[in-house]
Amino acid sequence: MTEFLLAASVFILLMVAVGLLRVLRGPADIDRMMAAQLLGTGGIAALLLLGTATALPGAVDVALTLALLAAFAAVMFVHSGGSS
């Protein structure tokens, strides 16, 4: 089971890495923001998988924190007028 979860986390991390290309390519800042959003979700998923696989203490709490703050960056972006 552990191996499976690890493999899944590696896979999702790789997906995240590929998704990062959008951050690189843009073209608009809003695309980058979205890619970061995906990365956040993927990261949380990978974190949960890793945490469960290797019984890391506090992994879910970290995920909780990340989830709470997930929208924060994007909201800041829109609020600062980044989308206009």
């Binding site: 690890l6 990062l20 980058r32 956040g40 506090g58 924190t65 709470l68 924060f72 980044g82």
Partner: protein, 311 residues
Amino acid sequence: MSLALLADAALVLLVLGLAFWINAASRAFPAVVGYVAFGLLLALAWLRLSAGDVAMTEAAVGSGVTGAVLIAASVRLRSAETEAPPPALPLRLLALLLSGLVTAALAGLVLWTTGPAPSLADQAVQHLPGLGMGNAVTGVLIAYRALDTLLEKVVLLLALMGIWSLAKDRYWGGIPGPSRIQPTNGALILLARLLPPIGIVVAVYILWVGATDPGGAFQGGAILAAMWLLVMLAGLRDAPAISRPWVRLCVTVGPAAFIAVGLTGFALPNGFLSYPDSIAKPLIIAVESVLTLSIAVILGLLVAGPPERQP
């Protein structure tokens, strides 16, 4: 290579790739977005290093709040970009050489020392029961090295004062952040109504769980600050004028309480910043709770920036 190591390797490669991207991006904004992602991945790395407390701090502060500050700044500074040319090529090569040298030295040292490192873990754990704590990191922060934590709170206060000091004189005592007629945004308002209650619960939980598991005052405070900022961003509440007595009170009460508890230690055999055995845990939790409040307000105001409007 085991799968776990593969996961580590993937993580490290991602982290490094982002680091290079952050340096190489042609504009600030993509770099900043990269940094937000970088912080998130770093939190994962911290977990992999069995440092849950750090992971949580990194997630809340390194990625979350720092990212917010940087994103806002990069948007405001958009029009100032491409002003200065990068240094000449020989200079860049020299820079590459020298920073590479530092990396090589550090890498060499990392590879050279492979055995278990000297550690204070035993000692730290040994004294934990006396404090009624289960989380050694919290023990270090609040007891063994409490002086650092105390001084770090003063650093936070000074940083806040530093940011406030950047206000124009006429706005002193005013409200942080630029005024903006915010188009009401249903989704954002909904989020700002829904999330904070949950956030507060989580923050309290993290503060509480910090005694035994990863978590603590700072992480809790950061979450609270984020919730508060969310409310401000949604336009539900304006940022408070910095001259408000309650702002001053909230900002200072934590450090003040910490100092006060520290000073009462003089009455105890172990002196300054020691806790009486019998009530160590409640006392520590009490101090941490007040600190959490102060940290939340300070962090929120640090992100909000200097006053830019009259109250």
